[in-house]
Symmetry: C2
Subunit: 496 residues, 2 copies
């Protein structure tokens, strides 16, 4: 029990302006205005008035016998009648509690496992044999496919190829882009799972970029044909590329290696003839992003080694025993570091890395993400967290489907289906394991989106999105890791 607190009736409610700096003994400062010399009785005490503060002050300085107005008719703040709603401090409470709980987890982890961070070990994830760099070779070979697509476009522009032949060549090229690295990753012994994930990602990005490259060039040719047909009617009407620009490139002039490689390296998946460019490279901005990249990479590796790996290893036994309460406990334990690492990864990749690349290339459009953290529906989240992919899906998949007469529902299911395919592609092939967990996870977004939008609105919707993010990922991670362990470490022993 007990409260005290040097008192002082006049306090600033809901404001934070403390006259704190005079030093002195903490509580005492408060009373400067409270019982000033001369016993300032503030106006005749009003009848139960609406202004709380004034009333509160009235018990302060009414002379030596402050009999009157020690109490007054009023509600408790938590009562709904009081109309009070300033719970600003609760956010700080949440932050303090989160930091403290995680500090404890961190300390517990250190006590239990000691320091597990080992930068050398990371190298072994990329390389089995230091003289063979299969993933890097794969990435270098990727240039061949880019050049192939370029040559096809060049010939199409010149009219040396028919549209059908061009389409066929593009399809063959694109199919090879997906199949070739998959075959290499599956057949080559010396490639590590991490190495092959990275190589497959590069190929996937290349695939998406070349689809966009082909589509945009096709649209340009179609427009050129149309413009020629209408050339008689109007002379130079239609604005070529958004109108206002001056140093713009128009269709066949864009087919240069310089333009192609600018697009391939730029942090976007959608090809455009005239990308917006930033005026100069801001050196301090670039330096900050590079330092962030460096530091956050270390942090991610450290957190994974120190926190995720032991937790995952500890969860293998409950999984084998099918001990459900322990599985859930492990899952929740894994959820925290997993989510934290994902958040760091998000910032690292979408803010630090992409901005650094964009700054270096003077690429103007820095919208790599929008405010997905405020998502109130699953749909909003998927539309806003990864803008390059979202833009690509919208431009080269969803809208073309609509134009071909698909219904919206079919088109968006198609997008989720394609995304599910690529998720599975990026996980199953490197792990040599076809379990469809990633595929299922992505496809489950459709009913999930429906459920969330149906039953949760506003902040509840937002909380539901966070919950699926925090819980959904570790479920998938545990599934794969469990199966991978069983396949690679358990099978030879027991075969269970």
């Amino acid at each position: 029990m007990g409260d005290r607190g040097g008192a002082g009736g006049s306090r600033r409610r809901r404001t934070g302006s403390r006259p704190s700096s005079q030093g002195g003994g903490g509580p005492a400062e408060e009373e400067v205005r409270a019982v000033g010399p001369g016993g300032d009785a503030p106006a005749p005490p009003p009848a139960p008035a609406p202004d709380k503060d004034e009333n509160r002050d009235s018990d302060v300085g009414s002379g030596p016998w402050d009999l009157s107005r020690c109490h007054r008719l009023q509600d408790s703040l938590f009562s709904s009648d009081s109309g009070f709603s300033n719970y600003r401090g609760i956010l700080n409470w949440c932050v303090v509690m989160l930091i403290l709980s995680n500090a404890r987890l961190f300390l517990e982890n250190l006590i239990k496992y000691g320091i597990l961070v080992d930068p050398i070990q990371v190298v072994s994830l990329f390389l089995k044999d230091p003289y063979s760099w299969p993933a890097l070779c794969l990435v270098i070979v990727a240039n061949v496919f880019a050049v192939a697509a370029f040559q096809v476009e060049k010939r199409l522009a010149a009219g040396a190829l028919t549209e059908q032949a061009g389409l066929l060549l593009h399809v063959v090229n694109l199919a090879t882009i997906l199949c070739f690295p998959a075959a290499v990753a599956l057949l080559l012994e010396s490639i590590t799972p991490v190495g092959s994930v990275l190589a497959l990602m590069v190929y996937t990005i290349l695939f998406l970029k070349l689809v966009s490259y082909r589509d945009v060039n096709l649209w340009c040719r179609e427009r050129r044909a149309k413009a020629k047909a209408k050339a008689k009617a109007a002379s130079a009407g239609k604005k070529a590329n958004g109108g206002a620009a001056q140093h713009t490139v128009s269709y066949p002039d864009n087919l240069t290696y310089r333009d192609l490689y600018y697009f391939l390296l730029a942090p976007t998946l959608c090809y455009e003839l005239n990308f917006p460019r930033s005026p100069r490279i801001r050196k301090r901005f670039l330096l900050r992003r590079l330092l962030e990249m460096l530091f956050l990479t270390q942090l991610q590796v450290g957190l994974i080694q120190q926190w995720m790996v032991p937790t995952i290893q500890n969860s293998m036994k409950p999984f084998k025993d099918m001990d459900y309460s322990r599985i859930i406990e492990r899952l929740l334990k894994l959820a925290v570091p997993n989510h934290l690492i994902w958040l760091i990864f998000f910032y690292w990749f979408f803010h630090s890395c992409m901005n650094a690349v964009a700054e270096l290339m003077q690429f103007g459009d820095r919208e790599f993400y929008r405010d997905w953290w405020n998502s109130e529906s699953v749909t909003y989240f998927w539309q806003n967290w990864n803008i390059p992919v979202h833009k690509w899906c919208l431009r080269h998949f969803y809208k073309p489907m609509l134009r071909r007469g698909s219904s919206k529902w079919v088109a968006s299911t198609g997008v989720f289906f394609a995304s599910a395919f690529f998720h599975e592609y990026l996980v199953s092939i490197p792990l040599h394991m076809f379990r469809l967990w990633a595929f299922t996870g992505m496809m489950a977004q459709i009913p999930l989106a429906w459920i969330v939008s149906r039953f949760f609105q506003g902040n509840y919707g937002n909380a539901a999105v966070w919950l699926t993010l925090i819980i959904g990922q570790p479920v998938a991670v545990l599934m794969y890791v469990h199966d991978y362990y069983v396949l690679n470490y358990e099978a030879p022993v027991a075969g269970a």
Copy 2:
């Protein structure tokens, strides 16, 4: 990687109004306005305009060849140049993370210890011998002191006692109120620590109330004397008790048993001749408060048995071994349940119990706490979390000291000192252990308040207050429990 999300360029940024209820397949609903029949090209695309939303929509329906405006010059949201500051979703994130982490801790606890909640065991905390109820007897005896104070006041009002004799009798009475239960608690074998804490609390409250009773009656007599002296000048000038009231009681008429017991049972420590009264007993309000009392009591007992007791027991070993990193880990582990229980206790006592009592007694002033959760300084916290005690300290300790010429600093230090004394009184005597941890803890508030107000402002100050609350209490709890264990369970074995 990977994003998809049925796309749809038109999205409601920062608003939460989803047209959710039509059913249909989640993402598809989004596109109703996006690519409507007729390819509605929304106005000629503006030059890099300030309005983001409009620009964003411009990539939606610009006919079959949407070559223009796929990218535009813009900053990432996290860049300070973007001016974006809507991180509303982060609060939801904090809440979800806190709930999940604690759900995990709860589950871990259940797996580790099973169900420890045992309502029967609670009874043993209050009673050693079911036929002897020493704490209850003590509480009943307390009436004697209340009646004694009343009789003294009665005689003082009638002029049958001089002021000096009255003061002496009051001092003796009040001193006995503090010493008698302390002596009983120390000497009586059959009283349990919990029982004696409760009895001592009742006596402490009685002590504070009777001090207030005596002071107010004294002020009334002084005013009456003054009024008589000035009676020649003005006839019936001074308003007796706040003026406006009609059915008010004035001085000697208030000295009735009915009035005394109303004050003793009312949820306030400050006596007043005419308490504000609520017009009627709201039955639904009362019922809600009573249900809260019942449920939260269960919850507190459950949390203590299931969560705090095992954590405290586990921390005994690190304490004995003086293993600092483990002590800190245990401390942080204890901090969470301790803080949670304290928060529940706060709501239970200051909102549910006090409001229930006030509603039953039609006591009008329900300000039992203010918005201490927004405290940006330690002083503000102490002034706002326990209003009955704060009011008492201000009225009967701090301001009288100022009137007698103490400086503000001395007066507020005095308040903290008195409070430290009562904290120690309520802990040391029941535990039969004089360690001064509680006393030190309270006195440490003075330098702490100075440090916080000096170095932390605004939200940082608020976070600092929360931190001291969350960490400070379990430190004191661990200190006492450790010493109690050593004294009662270790000593006979080893004597270490």
